[in-house]
Amino acid sequence: MKEIRLMKGNEAIAEGVIRAGCDGYFGYPITPQSEVLEYLMANKTKERTGMIVLQAESEIASIHMVYGGAASGKRVMTSSSSPGISLMQEGISFMAGTELPCLLLNVVRGGPGLGTIQPSQSDYFQAVKGGGHGDYKMIVLAPASVQEMYDFAKLGFELAFKHRIQVMVLSDGAIGQMMEKVELDEQVPRWTDEEIVKLHPWSTTGKTPDRERNIITSLDLNPVKQEIINRNLQKKFKHIEETEVRFERIMCDDAEYLFVAYGSSARICQKAVSLGRAKGIKVGLLRPITLFPYPSKELEKLAKQVKGMLSVEMSAGQMVEDVRLSVNGAVPVEHYGRLGGIIPAPDEVLNVLEEKFIKENLLCKTH
């Protein structure tokens, strides 16, 4: 029998990282995700698993603490919300350049600037296209439930170390703050220092006589070598695109119209699918779980089947660009978004779908 608890999304991921054998968390408070640091502190992780939790002086310091820990082979993470994640971009870019594994959580709030503390999905571009300088990507996981907040802690660390890459859980204020029941699993033991030496021979753990020194750097002044380094990075991203795509199909098999949505918006759209089906509209939902790598191939397939796709996001239209790239003009793709921290209602998005595709078509037929 699995242990079940009623938890907030932010608490669930905090519990998730403890149970995933996380070694260190470094973070700075910001709404709507301060519960992560608070939960970890209240849980006396040092006594529970030996996990270190430190409140840093800024998000900049947090991410560079993560860099130091990750470069020494530890499972480390930070969490923040949009303005804080912007500050972390320097460190994330350095971790991309040094191929360091880590877990990052962005509980997105509205922007630009200080914006609002209400939920938003307006950091999609920053997360998916590489928010810092240089040619890089990180794996981006989009939870749509409190259970997934919990699950993506462990999955995130697994993917991070499997590919030596940064994994971002791109959540939002709604998922972070809502309460649902969560199934918890067994504690994964933290790696011992000896295990780290064996598992991550690249990490800086102290140069022993049996090996050359380990250096973690993103610098190479030789353009020929730097190009090779960059090409190898791109190869890795390509490999990830081929092997790590995750998505959920909801009522897609016979769908004539498709919602494409992730996170909170996907939950709204799932409800809209039920409403639509009750009205006799054959509508489905494709929910990307990984935003990088993006389920482009799945959308390409669905484009052969549906008459239109509506990308629903709490943004002015960011993911819609990837939907369009995926279907490459094969079907009309529209966007619907609410900004400023407003979550659209299911009937609202269904109406938009009907207006954009179905009513328009009827109109065409009568002319």
Binding site: A56, H64, G68, V76, T204, G206, T217
Partner: protein
Amino acid sequence: MQDTLTDAQICQPENMVYCRTALMTQAPLSYCPGCGHGTAHRLIMEVIEEMKMQANTIGVAPVGCSVLAYDFLDIDMQQAAHGRAPAVATGIKRLYPDKFVFTYQGDGDLAAIGTGETIHACNRGENITIFFVNNGIYGMTGGQMAPTTLPGMKTATSPFGRDTETMGHPLKITELIANLPGTYFVSRQSVHTPANVRKAKKAIEKAIQYQKLNKGLNFVEIVSNCNSGWKMTPLESNKWMEENMFPFYPLGDIKVPK
């Protein structure tokens, strides 16, 4: 007979009294002729070798002329973003409390862009060691004004001399952090004469030794030359340093354990 000892007879391994420590790699240093960075590197490595700490040491290189320190120091090292070395070292040390963790930083790195990271690592009393090479200038980028540049001193970005009215005053960050309860040992040294090298090495020894006590952050500033940035010969730069830098940045221990 003794006077007729040949060079070959004298230059035997058993008679060797000084050579570059084996913990410096074979790579030629990338520093300008006469630059104090090289001596500072060597002293740190000598102490790590003498204390047999190679396997237990993790170093953090900054952005600055010593960005490539990891090419010269035969230890595990991480290269940090500009100014962030104290945060990086905090991350390492918190997760490896038994390792010796140090940063090596210039004055632009430590006292300008990294001021926040420096002060807070010191204030938290992180059990790390910081080696701070203060040459009063941004060496790497071509001799621009640093927070430590002296009043009136000419640099690429203060071509008529640092005007404190508009460009601010030189920052004595070492005195500043010595005032924080989190620092344990704070010392200012130089490496331009044999006597100063000997004193600097003693301070480096302490700063490394004390880390084992877990009493807080240990900090050694090395006031150094940047003959390229200062546009002088190495000998001139050392003289200029004695006459101008030392009065403003006086050498000696600033905070010693009771």
